[in-house]
């Protein structure tokens, strides 16, 4: 079944290869997927990475889908991100400015304070030096008398000036740790060596200029954490004239508090702004998206055929105008479609009426022609020939008229199915029996295969017989004297009859067109001979009426096969056919690709014939094909002739019921009873024709 049938088989295989992202995470499949992925993607070295990526991506997939589908989410998220970015930028700028401002003020105040402190230290050193000098003018041995206490007192008095505003530290002057045996001093529990940066000490050591630096104050023996500070230091002399380093440490805790206040304020404000912008975006998008969604929903309903659906319009804004325009469009569409429907109904009716009206004069003409035909022996040869021609063309005309009536009945939905369980073998034998004379004339043998077992289906025997007769006669006519094989099969819920010939076959693309009305292979040729050009169309409609398929396959020079598939019980949707559309003995299957045709095209040369099974077909795979059924010709009668127009079993009116037998006789007459006499000339004329219009 795979590979030869257009219907389910490609779908099956496509299922596997066409969807690499298999949801069913069966372990056996991973390897195959990986192999495929590796071969295609070329990411050879990192299967683990791919696994990981997939593992990561899997929970994100719904989110990503939502992201793709939800414009509101997209807009809101984008707005949030952008406003967040702006708020962050603004925050950085503002905080930076506030910080600089705070620091500037603090530095200025601190510098003046420290400068005053250095002056005081110098002054006190001078005072102490003069006092010591006076007191101990005689001995220089007392030179270093008071420095220990003096310095402690100095630090104490300097630091008492600013309760908590600053701390004072003295350090020995020399670069190494012990200058002059003097220990460091610090007020306020500051760790002097850890709090004053080395760079500042080195800088001050060389010069007599004050310097400043930012540092962290470290506190000793207390649980107070370190804090940032501004350190201003200068080298000054003690009463003995020895230099030491005096530092003012200004903690920046107050500034830090102010900064954190600003930070907190900005963060809160920024948060509110972001939330506000997000909410605004959400609201605005909601205002726009809601009508758009409504329009989309309405449009979907319109496209589903519910033309009376309209949008609700409130207000006068742009959205309301959109809704009004949309509604107007829908109304116009509805109007146009209505008009077209009316027109087409009128045309169908016209065709039907014309056909009916032509019958009465035709009957009269026929009788007259019959009389003339009877009396043709009395005429001269030219007149006799004319009489014969007249009779022939009248036959043709009659059958054309009958077919037209039949097809117009289909178009009008007047065709009714009278299904009952029948054995298709009987029908087939009857048809084959009827076609025997023609076959003998063509030198063709008709074989019936698969009639060992009964092939029972619920069907309208008369219609099935008409279809099969059409197919068999066509096969014999185009079979070029080779065998015609009629194959019967039954499987699942379906039965099928395939008619195979080995004639000229079908060109690519013709398999779809053979069912078109008045279609011919060579449009240049006038339809003077052969069938009416409606036979296969009627057959297709018959098949559809059963809920079955009629499909054609062919290859140029390799013959063709027509397959009729019917559900075993009426109204049961078809899932497949027991017989492959492409026969096993096709050239392709035999490996004889002599024509060099791409096989895919041949394979697709199918006409899915489905009256009711749209959804089944789509479920089954690619044979679904609504578009295929659109006839290429501009025949006005073709418009309602597509699959959708054939209403399954409408309440059949009296006219239809009456008409069916009439057409039947006419149709049958053209193919069945009248076949023996008429096949001859048709044969002659169609011999070299590639047309499969019949």
């Amino acid at each position: 079944m795979s590979g030869d049938s257009a219907a389910p088989a490609p779908g099956g295989t496509g299922d596997r290869t066409g969807r690499p992202v298999g949801r069913t995470g069966a372990g056996s499949r991973w390897g195959r997927l990986l192999d495929g992925g590796l071969l295609h993607g070329g990411v050879q070295g990192s299967p683990v990475l791919r696994l990981f990526l997939r593992w990561v991506r899997r929970p994100l997939l719904p989110v990503m889908r939502l992201w793709r589908r939800n414009i509101q989410l997209r807009v809101v998220v984008t707005t949030l991100l952008m406003s967040l970015g702006v708020v962050l930028l603004l925050g950085f700028v503002v905080i930076g400015q506030v910080r600089n401002g705070l620091l500037d003020a603090k530095v200025k105040a601190s510098q003046s304070q420290a400068t005053g402190g250095f002056a005081v230290a110098k002054q006190r050193a001078d005072e102490a030096a003069t006092a010591t000098g006076e007191a101990a003018s005689t001995t220089d041995g007392r030179s270093s008398q008071n420095v220990i206490q003096w310095m402690s007192d100095l630090v104490s008095s300097l630091s008492s000036g600013g309760q908590g505003a600053f701390d004072v530290v003295t350090l020995p002057a020399a670069g190494d740790d012990s200058g002059g045996g003097r220990g460091p001093r610090a007020s306020g529990g500051v760790d002097p060596t850890a709090s004053v940066p080395e760079e500042l000490r080195a800088r001050i050591n060389g010069s007599m200029v004050a310097a400043q630096s930012y540092a962290r104050i470290v506190y000793k023996d207390s649980d107070k954490g370190s804090q940032p500070a501004l350190v201003i230091g200068k080298q000054v002399n003690d009463p003995n004239g020895d230099p030491y380093q005096l530092y003012y440490l200004f903690p920046l805790s107050q500034e830090e508090k102010s900064l954190s206040l600003v930070k907190g304020t900005l963060t809160t404000a920024g948060l509110f702004v972001v939330v506000l912008l997000g909410a605004i975006a959400w609201l605005v998008v909601r205002q726009v998206v809601t009508p758009v969604r409504m329009a989309a929903r309405i449009a979907e309903r319109l496209s589903a055929g519910r033309l009376q659906e309209r949008m609700k319009v409130t207000g006068e804004d742009d959205i309301a105008r959109l809704g009004e325009a949309f509604n107007k469009m829908a109304q116009n569409l509805q109007l146009k479609i209505q008009q077209l429907e009316d027109l087409s109904r009128m045309q169908r009716r016209f065709v039907s009426d014309v056909s009916h009206e032509l019958r009465t004069p035709l009957t009269t003409v026929r009788m007259a022609a019959d009389v003339i035909h009877e009396a043709r022996e009395d005429f001269d040869s030219v007149t006799a020939r004319s009489a014969e021609l007249l009779a022939d063309q009248l036959d043709r005309f009659e059958s054309l008229l009958a077919d037209l009536l039949e097809i117009s009945r289909f178009d009008a939905g007047a065709a009714a199915l009278e299904a009952e369980p029948i054995d298709l073998r009987e029908v087939v034998h009857r048809v084959v029996g009827g076609a025997e004379p023609l076959a003998e004339r063509k030198g063709t043998r008709i074989r019936v295969v698969g009639d060992q077992q009964p092939v029972v289906a619920e069907a309208d025997a008369r219609r099935v017989e008409r279809v099969l007769r059409n197919l068999v006669v066509n096969a014999v006519e185009h079979g070029e004297g080779r065998d015609v094989v009629v194959k019967l099969a039954s499987a699942g819920g379906a039965v099928a009859v395939a008619v195979r010939d080995y004639g000229v076959g079908l060109k690519p693309g013709e398999a779809t067109r053979v069912f078109s009305r008045f279609w011919r292979a060579d449009p240049a040729r006038a339809r003077t001979t052969g069938g009416t050009g409606l036979g296969l169309s009627i057959a297709l409609e018959d098949a559809r009426l059963h809920g079955g398929w009629l499909q054609a396959w062919g290859e140029p020079g390799g013959g063709s096969q027509f397959r009729l598939t019917l559900p075993r019980t009426a109204d049961e949707p078809l899932r497949g056919s027991p017989i492959p559309l492409e026969p096993k003995d096709s050239r392709r299957n035999r490996g004889l690709d002599d024509a060099g045709l791409p096989r895919g095209e041949e394979k697709r040369a199918t006409v899915p014939v489905q009256a009711t099974g749209d959804r089944t077909a789509s479920a089954r795979g690619p044979i679904a094909s609504r578009p295929v059924a659109v006839p290429p010709t501009a025949d006005p009668t073709a418009l309602p002739g597509n699959g959708a127009r054939v209403v399954p079993r409408p309440a059949s009116d009296a006219r239809g019921q009456e008409a069916v037998p009439a057409v039947e006789t006419a149709g049958n007459g053209s193919e069945g009873s009248a076949a023996p006499e008429r096949v001859g000339p048709r044969d002659v004329t169609q011999q070299g024709e590639a047309s499969r219009g019949r």
Binding site: N146, V147, D176, G183, G188
Partner: protein
């Protein structure tokens, strides 16, 4: 229609009203509040702005002067065991040097005088002398003694043979530092002992006596204090107090630092000596600890004593301590007593403004008074007649009659007669007779009977004022020497009941509490070991200041200046203001944190009970 229109009008009005309310509310948030709920203010600890000196080890190859300087610096640092200072010494000297043996306080810190004879030329010797003028000395018991006079101690530095570094090999024992460094590094704390039972026959709880000592401020003061308490009272106080800790009690070996837990409970592990004490004794021990540690941070609310094996000896909370031993007066007084313009004794609530005569005879103005003293229990009052000749004792009960004087002085002039009396906690009345012919310090047991002569060995001059401390163990005397200088002396009261029917009372080991004041005019006890003194320094004007009983200057600022102070009344209770009688302004008082306020213009001799 009408309804519609009405609703249409009303709706915007309501919306506007809501919006206005919202705006008002928001505007409330945007201004500074000018009213609101009451809330307690959490006390933020004052920042420690004290200067700390960080000792640094000696530098490689430092000259001897620098070594000496570094050593003296290290002595002023917070190094707990003077480990850094020891690095400046030779090994031998470091072994022998005992910094805890004493602390010598010099006025301006130690000066260095290089000994010229050994100094310059010798390469391996460097002899100097530390000089200065002594201010005080803290001995091994950590008790402070004021000193005067020059200080000179030899110090010798030598160059170490092996390393070639200069080190100190000869130095005086103990630590030497300047006065401000001393004040920065040390603090005065009171350890508490119990008054000896020999004298307190009253059935009330025993009295706790403060024993001020100096500990290093930043070197785990709590543990230092506990150790010091366990070591026993200082020599001066030892004869009159007892420690409830058995002799030899110490912290258990291996205990280095004591810290209260987060419920302010301090666990004190003791050694084996204290394991056998009884419950009452243990409570006394805990009370001593609690009293000693009460003013320290971190706060200690409960003390738990542990035996040597770790089991709990007993635990005592702050609330129970008061019932075990008494600290300060028995009863809190709310009254200030003074003599008003009618020369009668009146009293005034501590912060009030109007005075009322005391009940009893002395409040009736029958006998004009110059000065008075009210007993601690505020039941008995003693008054000196306005001519300072007679001492009357009366009851503070209404209607009690005026008794005849219990004591009369034979002094010729008013200034040579009696002093203001003073009650001690046991109810004995102390007074001095300034009669130049026979200066005496007298005590009247329970304010009656025949006055007892108090022996005051070593007294040089006559007693000009007398105030007994609330604990009844220490007495403050203003002694007028022959050269008219008046100094403040603290003595220890000892009482010997053994000889005969009348006890022998003596005041022993007088020591100066305010050595720098040479003319003390008034004084009063203002704390367990603190007095407030008005006096004049040599060549100065009259000032008022607080002094410690050991002669040191306590922390804190002195009271605001006041001229012409004749007498002072202070209370150990913080709520009662300091009251003084000034010859210019009458009775004035100093509420805490304010300036002097006038109370009564015409009034004399303000006293609090005691």
């Amino acid at each position: 229609m009408g309804a519609d229109r009405e609703g249409g009008v009303r709706r915007p009005v309501r919306a506007v009203a809501y919006a206005a309310c919202g705006v008002v509310l928001l505007a409330g948030c945007a201004t500074m509040p000018d009213s609101g709920d009451l809330r307690d203010v959490e006390s933020t600890p004052r920042r420690d702005t004290e200067v700390r000196v960080f000792a640094i080890p000696p530098r490689e190859g430092a000259p001897p002067a620098e070594i000496l300087q570094g050593f003296l610096e290290a002595l002023t640092s917070d190094d707990p065991q003077y480990a850094t200072a020891r690095q400046y010494l030779t090994e031998t000297a470091a072994r022998q040097w005992r910094p805890e043996s004493s602390t010598t306080v010099l006025a301006d810190g130690p000066g260095i005088r290089v000994d010229r004879t050994t100094g310059r030329d010798a390469t391996d010797d460097y002899a100097v002398a530390l000089t200065g003028s002594k201010v005080a000395r803290v001995d091994e018991q950590q008790s402070y003694t004021s000193l005067t006079g020059p200080y000179s101690q030899p110090v010798h530095l030598t160059r170490d043979k092996k390393s070639g570094q200069w080190r100190i090999d000869v130095l005086p024992q103990g630590v030497v530092m300047g006065q401000s460094d001393f004040q920065r590094n040390y603090m005065s704390v009171n350890k508490y002992y119990l008054a000896s039972d020999t004298w307190a026959e009253s059935g009330t709880s025993t009295t706790a006596v403060a024993d001020p000592v100096y500990v290093r401020r930043r070197v785990d003061a709590m543990t230092q204090m506990v150790r010091s308490l366990l070591a026993g009272p200082t020599n001066w106080l030892k004869p009159v107090v007892r420690s409830s800790f058995p002799t030899g009690t110490a912290l258990r070996g291996g205990v280095t630092a004591l810290t209260p837990d987060d419920q302010n409970k301090l666990t004190v592990p003791l050694n084996g000596k204290a394991s056998e004490v009884g419950r009452e004794k243990c409570w006394e021990m805990a009370t001593q600890l609690l009293f000693t540690l009460q003013n320290l941070t971190p706060t200690v609310d409960t003390v738990e004593l542990q035996r040597a094996d770790g089991s709990i000896l007993c635990a005592l909370g702050e609330g129970r301590a008061g019932s075990v031993a008494r600290r300060g007066p028995v009863k809190r007084s709310d009254y200030l007593y003074f003599v008003d313009d009618k020369r009668r004794l009146v009293r005034m609530p501590g912060t009030g403004t109007s005075a009322e005569p005391v009940p009893g005879a002395l409040g009736e103005g029958v006998q004009q008074l110059a000065s008075a003293a009210v007993s601690w229990d505020e039941r008995t009052v003693a008054g000196v007649s306005s001519d300072w000749k007679s001492l009357f004792v009366g009851s503070l009960a209404a209607g009690s009659p005026l008794e005849p004087p219990v004591l009369q002085s034979r002094g010729k002039a008013e200034a040579d007669r009696l002093t203001a009396p003073s009650w001690d906690a046991q109810g004995d009345l102390w007074v001095a007779d300034r009669d130049p012919a026979q200066p005496r310090l007298l005590v009247l047991e329970q304010g009656e009977g025949k006055p007892l002569d108090v022996r005051v060995p070593g007294l040089n001059g006559r007693v000009d004022a007398v105030r007994v401390a609330a604990d009844g163990v220490r007495i403050a005397l203003v002694v007028q020497a022959k050269d008219d200088s008046k100094s403040l002396l603290i003595g220890r009261i000892e009482r010997d009941d053994s000889s005969g029917d009348r006890p022998v009372v003596s005041v022993l080991e007088l020591r100066s509490a305010a050595p720098e004041l040479e003319n003390v005019t008034a004084m009063s006890w203002a704390g367990d070991s603190r007095l407030v003194v008005a006096g004049r320094e040599q060549g100065g004007v009259q000032t008022m200041r607080y002094v410690q009983v050991d002669g040191s200057t306590p922390e804190g600022s002195p009271p605001a200046a006041l001229t012409g102070v004749q007498s002072i009344a202070a209370s150990e209770d913080d709520r009662l203001p300091l009251v003084a009688y000034s010859s210019e302004d009458g009775i004035v008082r100093l509420p805490s944190g304010a300036q002097w306020q006038k109370v009564v213009k015409a009034g004399w001799a303000p006293v609090y009970p005691g």
